[in-house]
Amino acid sequence: MERKLLKMFKIAIRGLVPLFMLFVIFSASAQKEERIKENKKFNERCFACHKSSTYTYFNPEMDKKVRDKMCPDRVIYPDEYYQSNHYSFKCTDCHSEEYDSFPHPVYLRMEEKYACIDCHGYDEDYAQYQFEQIEEEFLGSIHSTKHSEDFNCWMCHDAHTYRIAARSVELIKEIIEYDNLICLSCHANIEKYNLIMEGTNANILTTHGWLPNQALHFKNVRCIECHTAVNNDILVAHLVQPKKDAVHNCVECHSANSHLMASLYKFRTIETRSNVGFMNGVILNESFVIGANRNVFLNKMSMGIFILSIMAILMHFILRLITKK
């Protein structure tokens, strides 16, 4: 009888454990969903003003509602925010809770912003992104060494809109456009450029005048392909080099051992076309690079035809010599 009871207990336990685990996972997920929902509701109060170029508030001095202009840098579009990496947060997770009150206290404008490493560094959950190495690379980059602390993560990555493209976007061209726009947000925008540099920024079209088929290059590779040092451990290199160290040698990319495979196409090496004999075939899914996309079969075939032709010519010539009167 005891044995029977023990057996039944074991069966019950075996059945219950997976059920319990499912329950834990489901409830954790449900809790997260619930938290996001609550945060979204909370954020509505902020977005009520910050989602558009104007906002309305009650002015007690004038005893009436006033419509005013919102500073463009303080406008955050909810659609963009909820598609960004930080979509699940409520505004006061990163900003002071004192923003709850309106008018916001003036000194809050001077609050120090978090850097990426403050939240993502030394955390198992983010280990795969190698934030520590990104931080190290950034600190060694020309952006950081030339501009010290004035240049921070936010210069390139707006926490309200930033989303990682390289892992989530399927089309390489979209990744290129997204990433290049980050560079252009300073290098082709004098207002933002002047936040850290005096004077005018160099015209990119002129400084890259030496590049053949300039427009094609700009559309098909990211700025960082030539302007950063490749790091095999991280997806997007952050060690931006001084311009004298940028890639100028065409064959760095236009060769069988293409630099692009270690940068832009690094995480796309699960090729679909490599089995039809193209070198660096993953590039062919969306682009084509002279010198890097040779077809192995065609190369061998052409070499064979060439050798046969030369042999036939030589044989013919030798026979002519032998049969000469």
Binding site: P212, N213, A215, L216, N249, C250, V251, E252, H254, S255, A256, N257, L284, E286, S287, F288, I290, G291, N293, R294, N295, L298, S302, I305, F306, S309, I310, I313, H316, F317, L319, R320, T323, K325
Partner: protein, 203 residues
């Protein structure tokens, strides 16, 4: 006794010389681009692009002059294939090259003012000049203006298809050139045909 015929006027010789030089330039720079490597560069990539572009543009101009000049001067008649008995004539000339020449047979189609090329020459020149060359020129120009190339052809990059066509036809034309140069050594002496390319006189 050998007969002397003035078959190659100055314009034809200049065109031929420009064509030959541009072909060589395009082959060397084309190979350099196709097999570009960090370890070994036949010609530096940037220089190879510039020279390849110059060679391609010059070849196009030379080709257009050849076509227009040929129509105006009547030189085009030498490339007009007479279909009646064509394959038979082609066989005879082919047989001569791979057999008769070693038996010291007379050439079946001696060069004359009316028939500058033998049937095999005529056939290969028509293929090279009126099919191969226009394709290689058009695909080459497509590379000068890559934005005009269709993005996708049967789900393949348009630039890739363009490249494959360009290098395949370019390769066939290169092989044609090797054989063409070799066949020029056939004649009363090895240097005879080359000499006639300079003097204009065929012996």
């Amino acid at each position: 006794m050998s007969t002397r015929l003035y078959l190659y006027p100055v314009a034809i010789r200049v065109w031929h010389m420009v064509n030959a030089l541009m072909f060589l330039l395009l082959i060397v720079t084309g190979l350099s681009l196709q097999y570009s490597s960090k370890d070994l560069e036949i010609v530096g990539f940037n220089l190879a692009i510039t020279l390849h572009n110059i060679g391609g543009i010059t070849l196009t101009a030379s080709y257009l002059i050849f076509i227009i000049g040929g129509i105006v001067s009547g030189n085009m008649k030498h490339y007009k294939i007479k279909y009646k008995g064509f394959w038979n004539r082609l066989y005879k000339q082919g047989r001569f090259y791979i057999y008769g020449i070693f038996k010291h047979e007379d050439t079946p189609f001696p060069t004359s003012e009316n028939m500058k090329f033998n049937p095999l020459q005529q056939f290969s020149y028509v293929l090279a000049l009126f099919i191969g060359l226009p394709i290689v020129i058009l695909t080459g120009w497509a590379y000068l203006f890559p934005e005009i190339v269709i993005l996708k052809i049967f789900n393949l990059s348009g630039l890739l298809v363009n490249d494959l066509v360009h290098i395949t036809i370019g390769f066939i034309l290169s092989i044609f050139m090797f054989i063409h140069i070799y066949l020029c050594t056939i004649g009363p002496s090895v240097k005879n045909t080359f000499k006639s390319m300079i003097t204009g006189w065929h012996e």
